[in-house]
């Protein structure tokens, strides 16, 4: 592989950094992230590989592509199946599965499902009597399709089905739940700039609106439209000490909701990840996730840094292909949570089989 060359990377990198600078200038100072807006269960990375690489996996993902960039379904050689699980601080758990395949010459399809929830919620009533144990549950399914436009360009599309269930009433003996489901769409475009660089743009959660129907006499709230995101991803393949070294970077911007109406809280996040294939069977991952940007970065740096948080990540990929005579990998990723819950970490583990 050629060594890292700044000349060749200059133009797309300049474009990428320029985009970041523009966002810093545009995002209002009072924006501090998306907390409180719907769809929080969708925003954490899916897949241990991405998890360990700072959640920067939009450009050129290798599996669970429907989550990241359905246009990248063409990374799949023939078929890939993946299965994984995760555990995060404060009893948040998740499980994911995916299946992707190509239909030569120009089509690719994929299906994934994701469970995320909190199985152990202790609740109390107005008089501080404990209620029965409660849980929060979400399911998300993505059905993806991609089209090979040219050797360098692909386009992709997701049809999503989402479900949520929350406790909305109860007593010491039992909990009453309310649930909602909806559909939504993602659209993606990927372009391989050259052998080293790939860029992608994904528009997520289009027309995704939840309408809750509460089960215990609460009136419906009306529509809760999720924030849409524009994910711009960039990947650069270089070398470090003679071994492949890959830098991936995502800028995730939230400016409007799924119905293209402006958001109250506009935000931009910067995720970066690195992968170093130091050994044949083991690749190391490290990254930084959820670095948010707004105008305070330049205008009020003291205030910006006083509330600054990021989630450092790390992980690895173990390639069992030689031992098993099959393209089989195990990925592990971990992230330090953003709220400082001691030394607790979020983790994901998954298994990927290419066949």
């Amino acid at each position: 592989m050629e060594k890292l060359s700044l000349q060749k990377v200059k133009s797309p990198l300049y474009i990428y950094i320029s985009l970041l600078v523009i966002l810093i200038g545009v995002i209002p100072a009072e924006s501090r992230g998306l907390g409180g807006l719907g769809g929080a269960f969708l925003r954490a990375p899916v897949g241990a590989n991405a998890f360990g690489r700072g959640g920067a996996y939009t450009a050129n993902p290798q599996y669970l592509t429907m989550w990241w960039n359905p246009a990248a379904l063409f990374n799949v050689k023939k078929r890939v199946a993946s299965l994984g699980t995760g555990y995060r601080t404060l009893n948040r758990a998740e499980a994911m599965a995916g299946y992707e395949f190509r239909i030569p010459p120009r089509l690719a399809l994929g299906l994934s499902v994701l469970y995320r929830g909190d199985a152990k919620i202790e609740l109390y009533d107005n008089d501080e009597y404990p209620l029965a144990p409660a849980h929060y549950t979400t399911f998300t399914m993505k059905l993806a399709g991609a089209y090979l436009i040219s050797r360098k360009a692909t386009a992709g599309f997701n049809f999503n089905v989402l479900y949520q269930k929350i406790p909305t009433g109860g007593n010491q003996d039992s909990i009453a739940y309310s649930s909602t489901n909806t559909i939504g769409f993602d659209a993606a475009f990927q372009y391989k700039i050259n052998k080293k660089m790939t860029a992608a743009v994904v528009l997520k959660n289009i027309f995704t609106t939840f309408s809750w129907e509460f089960s215990d006499g609460l009136s419906p709230i009306g529509a809760d439209t999720l924030p849409a995101s524009v994910n711009v991803g960039f990947e650069y393949k270089g070398t470090l000490m003679g071994k492949p070294f890959i830098w991936t970077s995502d800028i995730i911007g939230y400016a409007f909701n799924g119905n293209f109406k402006g958001l109250d809280k506009k935000s931009a996040f910067f995720n970066n990840g690195f992968r170093w294939e130091k050994w044949d069977i083991l690749a190391l991952h490290v990254g930084v996730r959820d670095w948010y940007f707004n105008r305070d970065f330049i205008k009020k740096p003291k205030e910006y840094w006083s509330t600054f948080t990021v989630a450092p990540t790390m992980g690895c990929e173990i390639d069992f292909s030689k031992q098993m005579k099959k393209d089989f990998k195990v990925n592990y990723g971990m992230a330090f949570d953003k709220v400082g819950k001691g030394i607790s970490i979020d983790q994901q583990l998954d298994f990927v089989l290419n066949f």
Binding site: P28, E30, R32, G33, L34, G35, G36, L37, G38, G39, A40, F41, R43, A44, L90, R92, R116, D118, I121, E122, L123, Y124, D125, N126, D127, E128, Y129, L131, A134, Y136, Q164, I166, P167, T168, G169, G170, N171, Q172, D173, S178, F210, W212, F214, D216, L218, S219, I221, D224, D264, K265, D290, T307, T309, D337, K338, V339, G340, K341, G342
Partner: protein, 493 residues
């Protein structure tokens, strides 16, 4: 959020609920009915006050006296009939041994499902409990042997049944005074023939009598204070409080527009406390009998808003009670004078406010003492939770705010933040706010009920907005390095 109660009574030393309604007592004992049952103290002037709780006992129309207590039970907190359709029984107990309570049936062979023979109000007088039992008349209960006698006005076939419906009673000068739906009665239990006298009220136009209180005067007279509802149409009606001077046989108007639902208590000398539930405010009036006129259009009640240099501001005294939360909904008010104390008590949705030295002409402006349910919490932030845990954001009731319960081992500055499922920051509730260690507070916890709460919103450019439904996580951290986490569900209404 509703709770399902059974009628299995259990005894405890805890305050059962902060959502308190009925307030009654005799002298310094206080009985409170809340959403979770009954709490009682035999002496509210003790320090500390000792409480007994009976979970799942919902006794309306309670009375106490002579060392006994009596009330009307309900099934599940609201049904006046038991599972067979008969009126629910009375609960009767000696105050010093509540566990030896008895359930007594009223002496009526009422048709199954008939409400018109239930006990509507009870008082203790002349060594007995007297109950107004709607169309059943008056029942006298002897506490010693629980024997009951029934007394009823002679049924006049020309008088519509609505004239009875006896629901409110009081005593003065050896007589019982009783309000029915459309008529007022005096019952002389000492007379040989147990005489009933209907009070002439044709000069006032009354749709419905809702309450009756009686005051004895120094000259052995009796003044009735009668609350009348102007119309049965709840949305548009109000009440008028009339007075009836028994000796002079004269009606007068004490107060117009007293409030659709009003809790009434005589105060010191000629003072009267009114708690207007609709407006959620306490008013203090003077009812000087020498100001009574015959002109029913001119109310003679005078509202007291200032005594000497001090304003009579009960709202601020309620809000300034130590640890008082905001947003209390006031339920009932009660004033009692004993030989040594003047007691004022107010039940509310956030606990019991009380003062043991409430002299209307010597109000010192100190806040009330607040009695609330506080569950012991481990200190050093070992445990924290929000209550209620299911928050109905965007509503106005008790479930519209979640309060954070926590206990510090030592005084410290506290920051409370809310995060969503992805640990994105939602809102900061308090920022380095000074809090006392739980051991240094009367409630045994560090929570500031006014500030340490969240209504399910976040700040945006236009002010604030309700968060999306889901699970949220709160973090309490101190400057000395301790931290604790808890969970809240936000469900919208």
């Amino acid at each position: 959020m509703s709770s399902i109660h059974s009628n299995d009574y259990s005894f405890t030393k805890e305050i059962l609920s902060n959502e308190m309604f009925t307030l009654t007592g005799d002298s310094s004992d206080v009985w409170i009915i809340s959403v979770n049952g009954l709490n009682v103290t035999t002496d509210i002037t003790e320090n500390p006050v000792q409480w007994t709780g009976i979970k799942n006992l919902f006794c309306w129309n309670m009375a106490s006296g002579g060392g006994y207590a009596l009330g009307r039970t309900t099934l599940n907190g609201y049904n006046d009939f038991d599972k067979t359709g008969k009126p629910t029984p009375l609960w009767f107990a000696p105050i010093n041994n509540l566990q030896s309570y008895k359930l007594l049936n009223l002496p009526f062979n009422a048709p199954v499902g008939e409400l018109s023979y239930q006990m509507a109000e009870a008082i203790y007088y002349e060594n007995a409990f007297w109950m107004a039992c709607m169309d059943g008349g008056i029942v006298r209960l002897n506490p010693a042997d629980q024997q009951m006698e029934t007394f009823a006005p002679v049924k006049d076939p020309n008088v519509h049944i609505d004239s009875y419906d006896l629901h409110s009673l009081d005593f003065s000068q050896g007589k019982l005074w009783i309000a029915g739906k459309k008529a007022l009665w005096m019952f002389d239990s000492s007379a040989t023939d147990k005489q009933w006298t209907k009070i002439e009220d044709s000069v006032i136009s009354v749709d419905y009598y809702s309450d009756l209180r009686v005051r004895s005067t120094a000259d052995s007279n009796t003044i009735l204070f009668v609350t009348a509802i102007d119309s049965i149409n709840e949305s548009s009606s109000d009440t008028t409080i009339y007075t009836y001077d028994v000796k002079k046989n004269k009606w007068a108007t004490f107060l117009k527009n007293a409030g659709r639902y009003v809790s009434f208590s005589f105060g010191h000398k000629n003072e009267i406390y009114l708690l207007d539930n609709k407006l959620n405010r306490i008013r203090l009036f003077n009812a000087p009998h020498d100001q009574i006129t015959n002109d029913l259009t001119k109310p003679f009640g005078v509202e007291i808003t200032q005594i000497g240099q001090k304003s009579v501001d009960y709202a601020s005294r309620v809000n300034n009670a130590e640890g008082a939360p905001v947003g209390s909904i006031l339920s009932e008010i009660r004033y009692v004078e004993t030989p040594t104390d003047t007691l004022l008590q107010i039940s509310s949705s956030e606990g019991l406010f009380y003062s043991n030295n409430e002299r209307a002409d010597n109000i010192n402006g100190t806040p009330f003492t607040l009695v609330r349910r506080f569950v012991p919490i481990e200190s050093e932030l070992k445990k924290t939770y929000a209550y209620p845990g299911i928050l109905l954001a965007g509503t106005e009731g008790k479930d519209s705010y979640a309060t954070f319960a926590y206990n510090l081992a030592e005084d410290d500055d506290v920051t409370i933040d809310i995060f969503d499922y992805n640990m994105d920051h939602v809102i900061r509730i308090v920022d380095k706010a000074p809090r006392k260690a739980g051991k240094n507070t009367p409630q045994g916890r560090s929570t500031n009920l006014k500030e340490d709460r969240w209504n399910g919103t976040f700040k945006n450019r236009s002010g604030s907005k309700t968060v999306a439904p889901g699970v949220y996580y709160f973090r309490i951290k101190t400057e000395k390095g301790n931290r604790s986490f808890g969970k809240i569900i936000v469900a919208k209404s």
